[in-house]
Amino acid sequence: MELDNLSRRLIERFQHGMPLCPEPYRAMAEALDCTEADVLDRLARLQAEGALSRVGPVFEHRRAGASTLVALSVPEARLEQVAARISQFPEVNHNYRREHRYNLWFVLTGPDRAHLSRVLDEIEAETGLMPLDLPMHTAYRIDLGFPLETLR
């Protein structure tokens, strides 16, 4: 998608953090040499177009409870149906089809590990497929965004 110059600068400059001051959008406008209305207008437009998923806090998932990465090896003929069922679980917050013997990958998040274990049992019982359960051991990097300097 095409971004105008101000939109690109807005994303590059504030994707890692925005000012924690009483009028943040005004402070952002000053940093970008435009008006507060310009900032609010661009943010609203970028959000509506989907270029921004949101403006606000990104929470550390693990602090909110337990999470794990799960993979299923789903026979191709059943993939659509199993994927749709998995997406229905409120505990599933990412669900990706990937090119591998393990072809369905998703993240489970819940209040505690016991809850996740119950969901894993439920998935196994419902699908007849054995989930590969890969909880995080150590985080070497969490998502803080990545450079967009080549973004056009």
Partner: protein, 170 residues
């Protein structure tokens, strides 16, 4: 440094998640909007956000881009079988590569030998292949096998949800 947050902060944090998981309202005074709903003063709200951020409960407060929509349509989950005695040294090194957005150590399992995961994103298949080569060069002999699982479809992607279910299908 203490990683604990007080019970009242924990309770406020839960309400904060519910209020902001879909984003702050785009109004001139977003903290005032939040303060009103949390029953705090605007100053106390800013202080709470700063505390949760310093503590690590909030990773960042930002304009959060959707890289897929911005043209970064190729993502690869690179997975590596790294020698156990080298992973705590090499994991952080992989994590600091600019092309890597997430990097985690995860357990090996029967039928799954890979213990290091690094996500890479790019605008073409060639670009993410290049990143994979970069990681492989860094790991050297400590890596015994690797693979890259590319995503052919995003079936469900949402932010953290503790309150109302909210999903976006693509």
């Amino acid at each position: 440094m203490s990683a604990c947050i007080s019970p009242s902060d924990a309770d406020l944090a839960r309400r904060l998640v519910a209020l902001t998981e879909a984003g702050l309202p785009l109004v001139e005074d977003p903290w005032g909007w939040l303060a009103e709903r949390l029953g705090l003063s605007p100053d106390a709200t800013l202080a709470l956000l700063a505390r949760l951020h310093a503590d690590g409960a909030i990773r960042r407060i930002a304009a959060v881009p959707n890289h897929y929509r911005l043209g970064y349509r190729h993502n690869g989950m690179t997975v590596w079988d790294v020698a156990d005695d080298a992973i705590e040294r090499l994991g952080p090194a992989v994590g600091t590569l600019p092309c890597v957005s997430h990097c985690y150590r995860r357990p090996r399992k029967d039928g799954w030998r890979y213990n290091l995961f690094a996500m890479v994103h790019g605008r073409s298949a060639a670009e993410i292949d290049g990143y994979r080569a970069e990681i492989r060069a860094l790991l050297g002999d400590a890596c015994r096998a690797d693979d890259m699982l590319v995503s052919s479809r995003i079936l469900k992607k949402t932010g953290l949800r503790l309150g109302e279910p909210r999903s976006r299908m693509r």
